[in-house]
């Protein structure tokens, strides 16, 4: 058994990705984020704090880059040509003079892309991050030994490490704030990596309920916390395998194929498709499709 398990490590836990020979049979969770409707209000981020027991780290630790937001909102300025603003001689200054604000700014929510061929998965020495059969990039907190190799290899840098013992030593939840903690998932302690799970506890519940009722999971059975809070419905989430799911329709319409690192789109100059995936060329096969922001040029 032990040897067979060892071999299993090579075969079943680690299929080649994207799984052509063994596609996700029932469920492949995926997301679409419409950057045109995303207004950058941070409601998703707060929802994530509430749902997933994320610690508030405080000013000092935030300054050290140790914040724990699983979903972060990035703000980009206008696209008018600017020179490389990184000035090596005074790295303190971002030379912002050339930023263009007359078309507003642009926001981009960044969270774990739940890659199909996730760079983080292969490098974990203890196999604490795995691919699940429903297409998630799992993070098993109690297995993690904190080598941080996964984050080192993550192109998006969306894995967050518990640098401190937030629940106990850092007092991130002074009494009675712990009463707010969601019992559906653990509170992570120092030394483990964590990241967005596509609200695993919610997908689990949806699947559990569907199974008890003897039916497949329908579109809309499960909403992630970020999606649920988004005031402009910029986020849609669902099962990519289900052709009726909104996400599947969006991916199809935008001609974005999960298993391709370069999308061949049938589009004309006056009718571009907005769907794209970030850093697709690195072949992690992300499960989040972004829709380009649209700006009116007539005004």
């Amino acid at each position: 058994m032990s040897v067979s398990n060892l071999l299993q490590n090579w075969s079943t836990f680690r299929h080649e990705h994207p799984i052509n020979d063994k596609p996700h049979a029932e469920i492949k969770w995926a997301m679409t984020i419409d950057l045109d409707t995303c207004i950058g209000c941070n409601a998703c981020s707060v929802a994530c704090y509430a749902e997933n027991n994320l610690p508030v780290v405080g000013k000092e630790k935030y300054a050290h880059g140790q914040s724990m937001h699983w979903i972060r909102i990035e703000r980009y300025w206008g696209e008018t040509e600017v020179k490389e603003e990184y000035d090596p001689n005074s790295n303190f200054d971002m030379v912002q003079q050339d930023f263009q604000a007359d078309q507003g700014a642009q926001f981009l929510p960044m969270l774990c892309q739940q890659c199909e061929a996730a760079p983080c998965e292969t490098v974990c020495p203890v196999g604490a991050t795995n691919h699940t059969e429903d297409g998630l990039n799992s993070q098993i907190y109690n297995r993690c030994i904190g080598s941080r190799y996964c984050s080192a290899n993550c192109p998006f840098k969306v894995r967050y490490f518990n640098w401190w013992n937030y629940p106990e030593q850092e007092n991130a939840w002074p009494e009675p704030l712990p009463l707010q903690l969601n019992p559906d998932l653990t509170v992570r302690t120092k030394g483990v990596m964590e990241k967005c799970t596509f609200c695993k506890q919610r997908t689990y519940t949806a699947r559990n309920n569907a199974r008890s009722e003897g039916r497949p999971v329908h579109d809309g059975d499960v909403q992630t916390a970020c999606q649920q809070s988004c005031p402009t419905n910029a986020i849609s989430f669902g099962n990519l395998v289900d052709p009726e799911a909104r996400v599947a329709k969006q991916w199809e319409q935008q001609q974005v194929d999960l298993a391709k690192e370069k999308q061949e789109k049938d589009e004309k100059a006056d009718n571009k498709l907005r769907g794209y995936r970030i850093l697709e060329e690195l072949r992690p096969y992300p499960s989040i499709m972004y829709l380009e922001r649209v700006r009116e040029s007539a005004v």
Partner: protein, 212 residues
């Protein structure tokens, strides 16, 4: 040289033999005389009286205190087990519901205590006996659905996989190891999907299903 070779083959062989023995054997399950650690409960609830097998000798003379049990279904009290992650402890009202009409034992110290709680409208602070670490998600609903409702196994047998022979205990004690290897050893086996079909499947081996 030969001697060295022989010795090393022996050593390597022993390592593998011991290693594979150690991993292939499931950890020993505690025997009946060693029921596992004792937990002090606010009321010494006698599971054997409620769920234990009926003793025909009791029928003969109803006036004597019964020795056997009443064969109450586990899910009569642990009613959430089939629809929730947790089996749940019955609300106090449930205990009272029966006991207020059972006059024969009303004056026993345990029942008196029970009524004290009821009159004070205080929940009984039961201690957890089967307490998994908080990073583990065990779903009673799925197991009960599969083994009781789909495979039509007797409830006590299905619950007994993990909880042991509760019907013979007074205060419940943990009988099975409840370690990950123990869980996984069952998850790797093929189980019938339902009583009516010969199709089998094994439990999920995906870390994320049980770890949260």
């Amino acid at each position: 040289m030969h001697r060295f070779l022989r010795l090393s083959i022996l050593l390597v062989g022993m390592f593998f033999a011991v290693g594979s023995y150690a991993t292939d054997t499931a950890p020993p399950i505690t025997t009946e005389d060693d029921l596992g650690p004792q937990v002090e409960q606010p009321i010494e609830f006698p599971h054997n009286r409620h769920a234990g097998l009926h003793d025909p000798a009791d029928d003969a003379d109803p006036s004597k205190p019964a020795k056997g049990g009443m064969e109450i279904n586990c899910m009569y009290c642990h009613t959430y087990a089939r629809r929730s992650m947790v089996a749940g402890i019955p609300p106090l009202r449930k205990c009272i519901g029966c006991h207020q009409s059972i006059e024969s034992v009303k004056e026993t110290p345990r029942i008196k205590k029970l009524f004290e709680y009821w009159e004070a409208k205080k929940a009984i602070p039961w201690k957890k006996v089967h307490d998994l670490p908080d990073f583990v998600r065990f779903n009673h609903e799925r197991h009960v659905q599969r083994f009781v409702f789909q495979q039509n196994r007797p409830v006590q047998e299905a619950c007994g996989y993990c909880h042991g022979d509760i019907k013979t205990m007074t205060v419940a004690r943990r009988q099975k190891p409840l370690t990950m290897g123990w869980c996984a050893s069952c998850h790797q086996k093929d189980h019938l999907v339902s009583a009516s079909s010969s199709e089998t499947s094994h439990g999920p081996n995906d870390c994320f299903t049980c770890h949260k």
